[in-house]
Amino acid sequence: MTKEYEKPTETFRPNNKKNAEETRAYAGSLSTTGRLMSYNDQLKESLKRGIYFTKVLDELINTDDKNILLESVMTLTDYRLDTAYLIFPQQYSRADYYLIFLNRLLQLHQNEQVILQSSDHQNELYHEFPGINMEGYFTFKIDENMREGAYYVDKSTGARLFYINFKRQLIRFNSQALTDLLVVDYSEKFDYKTVKRFETYLVAIGKYFKEDYGFDVDFNLLDASNNASYQISSADEPREALDKLFIISADAGYMLVAGESGRAVLQLKNNVVVSILRQAEHDDLNNASWVIKVQDEGHKVAWFDILYKYEFIKDWYLDNLTSLAIKSDERFF
């Protein structure tokens, strides 16, 4: 769609003496009139480019069609508005369009929980989440290695909550950042309700991309499905950590039980069951890894919720991160 604007531009520098002398050499092939016409053409081209941009921006702002919305943001985040002939001094950044897009998408789902703010100081847009307020300042950060991808970042802590890539159609949540920010940091500052609302907002984003656009979304520790296996980074059996869990569970009034084929099972309130087990990847027994699973009746409880609701499990998880940390997609984190 942007191809037509990628014609090589001929440089015209009327005030440059040196060039003026050089041009005299092929004055025969390009007359003054010819040069003037060419300049005019380039200007028209640049203006057209600008006009087209505003059309796409209109779409981003106004369309009710989710597919057009996605197309518009993909165009805008990959658009070079300036040319050698025309420069627009006031522009939004690529990262800003990601934010605008998110708000539009949430709006189309009647679920716009996050406020799009404008920072005059930083000269950029950012997300503010009601309840978390000034403690959170969320923007997108373009992936320098892969320009078509971007991270949703809390700017003050640098926590990269998820990665999104429009071309590859994928979203990856980051277990470490979510643990650091939501479980450790926010748990001290906010009540569960507020943080849960923020978490639900993040999950909604992933869900919309999955359902509206067929993105491949890894929710990581936010995945509440009973089928979700939270893969542990370390390949070793977390034997010592499990022994510790056995002891502190007993202190907290719960019993860690020996389940079938060496799994450890912890029955919590409301029929929520946490298991830690070795699970084969794609039925390949030689290629097995340790995983945490959370089972509940309504597919509503994720590992995140367990960490939040059970102090002793949270302490245990954070104290034993070397053997328990949940893996994120290594290509992006």
Partner: protein
């Protein structure tokens, strides 16, 4: 016609009769055994494999009068008998001892775990024919001690854990004191240097030497502490591992104790029940037959 050349030959007729009786007795024993199995009469099977015990413990009779001459006939089938009897016995045990979890290791042979919790202990084997637990002696003694310590309000490993924690605290202090020690060592070295250069009257020389020695002693004492501090991290880590193992054992033990108290009220009752297991089980079989 008796052969007159032979002095005393037994009566062949008599011999035939006697052998026939012996064989018929065996057949009768095996037949009743077979019938007991057909009838699923486990009580009778127990009586047939050990009549003396059955008489003394169940019938309260003198076991010496019991004819047990045929019991050896089935000895080579013990594994099969055990396999057969285990079904009802284990059903009974699972009800009476809900915290024991049985696992078949070979035909008719069982071991059992205490509990279904994480890290549960292998607690012994089951002798199906004798209706008897063969407890793992070490594990059983630990449990007995844990019960005994209850009156002192202590867990089995409380003392050891306290000792290790204290040791770790001291080692941590040693590590934390490194800066202070380094500072003091610098001071000492300078002091020693100063003392060496000091010129004194001959009659003061021995006193000076003495105070210098004191400084040197302190310096070497501090270096000793440094060395200890150097190993402290490893030692603390080792202590942590030991404490973890000990706390785990204490937790296991507290579950075991809770289970026993919940079912039997006390360890004594548990032991009494174990001792009377054969009698209780046969009594249960009799009760069910009626």
């Amino acid at each position: 016609m008796a052969n007159p050349n032979q002095l005393s030959l037994s009566d062949h007729k008599q011999a035939t009769k006697s052998l026939t009786k012996a064989l018929l007795d065996k057949v009768a024993y095996l037949e009743s055994f077979e019938k007991a199995v057909q009838d699923q009469d486990d009580r009778l099977v127990y009586q047939l494999i050990d009549g003396k015990r059955y008489a003394t413990e169940i019938l309260k009779q003198d076991g010496a009068e019991v004819d047990d001459t045929h019991e050896h006939l089935v000895r080579d089938s013990y594994a099969k008998i055990s396999d057969y009897l285990s079904k009802n016995l284990i059903d009974y045990l699972c009800e009476m001892y809900p915290f024991f979890y049985f696992e078949e290791t070979a035909i008719g042979q069982y071991q059992f775990f205490f509990g279904n919790w994480w890290g549960r202990r292998l607690f012994g084997t089951l002798d199906v024919l004798k209706v008897k637990f063969n407890f793992d002696e070490t594990e059983y003694q630990k449990l007995a001690r844990a019960f005994a310590l209850e009156s002192e309000n202590k867990r089995l490993n409380s003392d050891q854990i306290a000792l290790l924690s204290q040791q770790s605290d001291e080692l941590q202090e040693l590590i934390d004191g490194q800066n202070e020690r380094d500072q003091r060592k610098d001071e000492l070295r300078q002091e020693i240097k100063r003392t060496s250069q000091e010129k004194v009257m001959p009659w003061e020389a021995s006193k000076l030497k003495e105070s210098k020695q004191k400084l040197i002693d302190e310096l070497s004492y501090l270096s000793e502490l440094d060395e200890k501090a150097g190993n402290a991290y490893r030692q603390i880590r080792e202590n942590e591992e030991k404490i973890l193992a000990l706390s785990k054992e204490d937790t296991l033990m507290s579950y075991e104790k809770q289970s026993i108290v919940a079912k039997f009220g006390s360890f004594e009752n548990f032991e009494a029940h174990n001792a009377a297991l054969y009698r209780n089980y046969i009594a249960d079989l009799i009760a069910k037959q009626k």
